[in-house]
């Protein structure tokens, strides 16, 4: 009995085994490989080859690269990885783990884009030095906490994108769903570049899964967007949690389904409250500079 227990305790959890397999599939996926290569190429270019002239430009470049390559690229890749087992549904069903465990393994794999984002952030912090032609930038006009919280939101975007890919893959079998959703997601994030001049525009800005703290061309006008970054971080984190819960809900039955539905409702309410608070409590939009 003791021997049996000892032998069993050394066995890795089925979820971890599946997560390792799915991680290999993600890393071998052409979309994720293209996204990783693009991220590395453009980051090295803007850090070492042709360094950005100030911290604001460097931070924004890293943020857009991370959100686009790891967030959107991870979203598309995880959507396809999740859908790819459809053709062999009968074989997959024979594996002695239920759908929730398979989904949980896929969600665990989403830590890879987050890890890459952290590494790329550290690389940027260590390796970047402003080039010979420096511009002032506007980060000096923002509280440092806001700058760091913005970077945390970028990291969360690199986690949330792939998680949303898993959720969409579980719930929407239409083959074009991933790509069409990516277009809409990017359009939503790009549309937050408009100035936050009212409650509605600030709400729209804060609600997006990815956004920048400063908007406007530096040659014309520069505007600090409204809203609180302190409340935005837990809001984006709650969106990630919602994505996991929604993915796990697919195929859940009985007690587990009830539990997930209740938890999901609580997290959704929390996300809405955090969104409203982040919209109302932060500073209003401020014009930083005009040519």
């Amino acid at each position: 009995m003791t021997t049996l227990t000892a032998a069993r305790s050394t066995e890795p959890s089925p979820v971890l085994v599946m997560a390792r397999i799915e991680a290999g599939r993600l890393l071998r996926h052409p979309i994720f490989a293209v996204a990783l290569a693009l991220d590395a190429w453009l980051l090295v270019s803007s850090v070492m080859v042709d360094p950005e002239p100030n911290l604001q430009r460097m931070s924004e470049t890293w943020a857009i690269l991370t959100a686009f390559c790891l967030g959107v690229g991870g979203f598309l890749a995880m959507y396809r990885v999740t859908r790819s087992t459809d053709a062999s549904r009968e074989v997959v069903a024979a594996v002695p783990v239920d759908e929730q465990q398979r989904t949980l393994a896929l969600c665990l794999v989403c830590v890879i884009p987050l890890g890459v984002a952290v590494v790329s952030g550290l690389f940027t912090l260590i390796a970047w030095e402003p080039g010979p032609i420096t511009e002032p930038g506007f980060y000096g006009r923002l509280p440092w906490a806001d700058v760091w919280l913005f970077n945390v939101c970028v990291l969360l975007a690199s986690l949330g994108g792939p998680l949303l890919g898993v959720t969409l893959g579980r719930w929407w079998s239409w083959p074009m769903a991933g790509a069409v959703s990516a277009v809409l997601l990017v359009a939503w994030c790009v549309s937050t570049g408009f100035r936050t001049t009212s409650f509605v525009t600030t709400l729209h800005h804060q609600a997006a899964p990815f956004t920048l703290p400063i908007t406007g061309a530096s040659s014309e006008e520069t505007f600090r967007q409204g809203g609180s970054w302190w409340w935005r971080v837990p809001y984006v984190a709650s969106l990630c949690a919602l994505a996991v819960i929604a993915a796990l809900l697919h195929g859940a039955t009985d007690h587990r389904r009830t539990l997930l539905l209740r938890t999901g409702t609580c997290v959704a309410v929390l996300a809405i409250v955090l969104l409203v608070v982040s919209t109302l409590t932060g500073p209003q939009g401020v014009l930083l500079w005009r040519a």
């Binding site: 052409p30 293209v34 690269l65 686009f68 239409w174 069409v180």
Partner: protein, 203 residues
């Protein structure tokens, strides 16, 4: 011709085509109507990205086992499928004409870039189809979208602006070259491996 085209058009996975085209058209209508701060290149390119997804899906053959048995050449069948994509290309060119001169946009640059990228995506999808992928739409669409977004957010090829909404000499040279290459690739990929002409040539 029309009578022959109907069965091929019926074989198109319209659900894959119409959804992205509707999303793209909506985005383009919003930005052209001035709802998103006037016609902005970013939203125009995002709309084009959705249109590319719809157009490449015209070549998806979920029922390839059945349609492949039809007594029609591969080229003819592809041309018939591309008939379904032609309104999208024409629509894009009309839109480019409509926004010409607004906010400094160049209609000819938009039309050239849009037509070139649509045709390049179609050619890539047909190459995959020839290599045995029955539904190349989602794969080619996703990669094309990633490439388009990459060119939209960054400028990956040095000083060359790939997605050109304003007059630019580099892009004026780039996109006609892409168009010619895409047509050449399509000519190769639609050539039936077992066509009588090829068989005769081999003999």
């Amino acid at each position: 011709m029309a009578g022959l085209a109907v069965p091929e058009l019926r074989a198109i996975a319209w659900g894959h085509v119409i959804g992205p085209v509707v999303v793209g058209t909506t985005l383009l209508a919003f930005t052209t109507a001035g709802l998103l701060d006037g016609p902005q290149p970013t939203f125009l390119w995002l709309g084009l990205g959705a249109l590319i997804l719809g157009v490449v899906a015209c070549l998806d053959e979920p029922a390839a086992m059945v349609t492949g048995a039809c007594p029609a050449t591969r080229r003819r069948r592809t041309v018939e499928r591309l008939l379904a994509a032609s309104p999208v290309v024409v629509g894009w060119c009309v839109l480019a004409g409509l926004v010409d001169g607004v906010n400094g946009l160049s209609g000819s640059a938009l039309a050239l870039t849009g037509t070139g990228s649509l045709l390049a995506a179609i050619a890539a999808a047909d190459v995959l189809r020839r290599l045995g992928v029955d539904e190349p739409g989602p794969v080619v669409g996703s990669v094309a979208l990633l490439g388009l977004l990459g060119c939209l957010l960054f400028q990956p090829i040095g000083g060359l602006v790939v997605l050109q909404a304003y007059d630019d000499l580099g892009s004026t040279a780039l996109w006609p070259a892409v168009l010619v290459m895409s047509i050449a690739v399509l000519a190769w990929s639609t050539n039936d491996p077992a066509s009588p002409a090829r068989t005769l040539r081999r003999r």
